[in-house]
Symmetry: C2
Subunit: 155 residues, 2 copies
Amino acid sequence: MMLKESGRNRTQVKIAWHCTCFNIRRASRSVTEYYDSVLAPSGVRATQFTMLGAAALMGPASVTRLAERLALDRTTLTRNLRVLAEEGLVTISAGKDRRERVVQLTEAGQTAIDRATPLWHKAQSRLIENLGEQRWRRMIEDFADLSDLLEENSD
Amino acid sequence: MMLKESGRNRTQVKIAWHCTCFNIRRASRSVTEYYDSVLAPSGVRATQFTMLGAAALMGPASVTRLAERLALDRTTLTRNLRVLAEEGLVTISAGKDRRERVVQLTEAGQTAIDRATPLWHKAQSRLIENLGEQRWRRMIEDFADLSDLLEENSD
DNA sequence: ATCATTTAAGTGTATATACATCTTTTTAAT
DNA sequence: ATTAAAAAGATGTATATACACTTAAATGAT
């Protein structure tokens, strides 16, 4: 009985360290902290830099369109945008379709992007250097494929 | 002037989609939602399954030791553990060293692990199948290397 | 023995994230 | 034209995450 229990535990217990979810979440935390630390002087975080970049890329766009572009839940984006709006980096206003709210980068938002971009380059290039261009490229592909494989595909 | 502006925007704006941080975060969201959806019937989330697994693996351990094992900020773990404690899956009690709090899996915690493990296997094996064993193995290595490279290395 | 230092943990605060549900507005079906 | 269905968004709730700071206990230097 005692031995059986130990055996079960020893087996099950190691599961966690091969878990794809655990491993990618850990890596994601590390990468985020790294980018955040490099971007810190600009006053925007990595996630915010991404959102501002999307807003700049798309021009005035609805919350839903932005959320699709960022592969983020709409409600997540709503709340993340609130922070940017409070800081004056984007405006959120009513659209022609009155259900829609149009997100738009402000001057201050563009300035923030300009401030953050060189730092982002620093973070990005140092990481690529450390990994090797080849391997980094492969990783980015892997990330994209993982997302494509799993997004909206429970079955 | 107009053209210069557009040129700048067009360049900067594409940055976000090559960003390592954005890409790994997106993939991490997808993977997490996938594992969460498969684990749902067990009543534990992917992150909780990992924490329970760590508690099972280590036996009674301090918050700091657990946090190190999980590569999580100590304060993050404190709060995540609170949820597990409220559900009776772990106990958190004073240690011999009175600064320490000892985390310990309960019977109910072990039951939860037992309930979740087959589901975890299902999620994990389906993902590996879809990626191919070879490629999956490589990814796990990449994740680990990313973490090792970036953890505690702001320099 | 006393006190400065280090260590363990918790709290305040803030962001990031998503699901379930509600409200408002538009679109489609009749 | 009226009403049912769909779409866009926000809110309630809950977890996950980390930094700056505080509190309490142990350790070490004298």
